[in-house]
Symmetry: C2
Subunit: 344 residues, 2 copies
Amino acid sequence: MSDERRLAVLRAIVQDYVRTSEPVGSKSLVERHHFGVSAATVRNDMAILEEEGLIHAPHTSAGRVPTDAGYRLFVDRLSAVKPMSGAERAAISRFLQGAVDLDDVVDRTVRLLASLTHQVAVVQYPSLTRSSVRHIELVPMARDRLMVILIANTGRIEQRIVEARGRLDDEAGTALVARIRSEVLAEAAGRSFPEASARLQSLPERFEPADRDLVRLVLRTLDDALAEEREERVVLAGTSNLARFGSDFPLTIAPVLEALEEHVVLLKLFGRLRPGQGTGVAVTIGHEHEHEGLAGASVVSAAYGTGSELVAGLGVLGPTRMDYPTAMATVRAVAHYVSELLES
Amino acid sequence: MSDERRLAVLRAIVQDYVRTSEPVGSKSLVERHHFGVSAATVRNDMAILEEEGLIHAPHTSAGRVPTDAGYRLFVDRLSAVKPMSGAERAAISRFLQGAVDLDDVVDRTVRLLASLTHQVAVVQYPSLTRSSVRHIELVPMARDRLMVILIANTGRIEQRIVEARGRLDDEAGTALVARIRSEVLAEAAGRSFPEASARLQSLPERFEPADRDLVRLVLRTLDDALAEEREERVVLAGTSNLARFGSDFPLTIAPVLEALEEHVVLLKLFGRLRPGQGTGVAVTIGHEHEHEGLAGASVVSAAYGTGSELVAGLGVLGPTRMDYPTAMATVRAVAHYVSELLES
DNA sequence: CTTGGCACTCGCATCGTGAGAGTGCCAGCG
DNA sequence: CGCTGGCACTCTCACGATGCGAGTGCCAAG
């Protein structure tokens, strides 16, 4: 009834399978690890693990492979997040420091994750709803066009063009634009986007009826940008790692690539992230994914962002047969350093 | 000595091979196409085509497959660009019309290309050097920080943050920023980026020596943004189509995915595009690519942009065994409609 | 509960075979 | 001089049989 040893066996199976990518049998298991027992005993344990649905034999005469449930147990209870060396941490930090703007930060982050983990890396652009307004600018473009630029505290920029009814390039138009700009800024600057949007609801009333249309148009763009959150941008890197695994993936890689192209699928993954839950790193394994194409894949993800607010997600995707401890450590460290960088 | 018939045979080989993806032999060739001659004659022609390096037999007893040179000849002289139906053209135009901003235009374009051709689609963001300055905005952010925003006539936005020596939030600082803004705008607005950069060289001299540092910093960001052109952004879609082809690709798809990740490689492809050269569509085939990973791939590309200036490239990438006439027609049509859209 | 032993089961790699597709060449014909 | 039909030859691929080895499950003994 040695529960403890059975779990140790499971851990060993996961580790060996991750290393070799071949089903692991009782014999090689006792050779590599020093349980105090013989192969036959381990076989008995393996039979029980199989009954519990934690491992599975591809065929009668092959070794065992962890099931999704087995990986789950491993991740939750059997693995310690591998600490990273100081050199690694320093390298991460240094590489990210070189970034010049937000695009560059995201770009460097995603490449870094991909090259450190040798998996597919995914980074979500900082979300607008969860960040705050740093600045709003109105730029007249033609006699009846106005460009509205939103700048978030994360450095993210969103722009829209609105068409006005009346002229904007005469004196009255210029003055109107200037007034809208200053009043909008007074209400919105420094506040979160949803909050700013709420406070601006009553703004049109402060203007002359004839001018309210334009004010509403400007506000509308702000709400539009917010509503388009569902089209949140996501950046990928390391997709060639999928192919590198070759037939490592249970099925072909086509469905995985398809899933990666549907950014909505990825955003859902990040949507559930909650700060500080345990290690702050979330793992979804195989069939736990809603999307069928990801049935053979696992995702290790974490939230990152400015200060105490977590504004977006990042992570890596690989086969369920993945080095979870290392991936989790890397994702956590990268999320940490990106967050640190964004503070400044 | 019937040169003409030999070329017709080559054309038929390319067409059949594209359809079936299997080496084509003399027998099936005369069955499907009505040459006026027998299989034996075609065999003689094929022997000559092979001597000329246009086709190649995988093994002795297999059919023939076009070589890169064979495809090249086919593309240059044997294929007419397939006209698109009015319905198709209308669908393309309608789909693109729905875009709300530049990001959306690029996004829609790349998805459209991928779904129409069932290949990997690549779209380059409009280039700064070849577009012109619509607006430049300076936004004070903290007591000594200034955000510089460049807006191109294509709608593209670039932003940088500069750190000033002196204070910007007092009266003198605000006035200085306002003056820099208006003088820069006066010189740069409406001009091409390189031209604007040149004209602004002498701007610092017009300011007090103490203020020149800040002016130079602002100008520097403009040059920096220009210099970073090498990091030009590129967007992909349809990578799962690579896998869909399965083993269609001569080698595995890993090197292709790697090449796609190195955006520099893709930008080089677009760098050579010249407007109005023939159909305006360029094709690179197999080993013509500099990058080895693309040895089994072909790229069909075209330039697009505002008005008479061509500011960026787009295209599709697939196996050398690709339906060139259709791909060329689609790329040309999409480039046309995107350009039209960007005008407005 | 553990252990060593033993019979059993399969998957996989290897090998050999046969069929089929395609070619190259040749001699004859217009 | 080019085209045609015929024929022998080559080579790949698919199919099936075989043997090996890894690994298991079970059992009886410690």
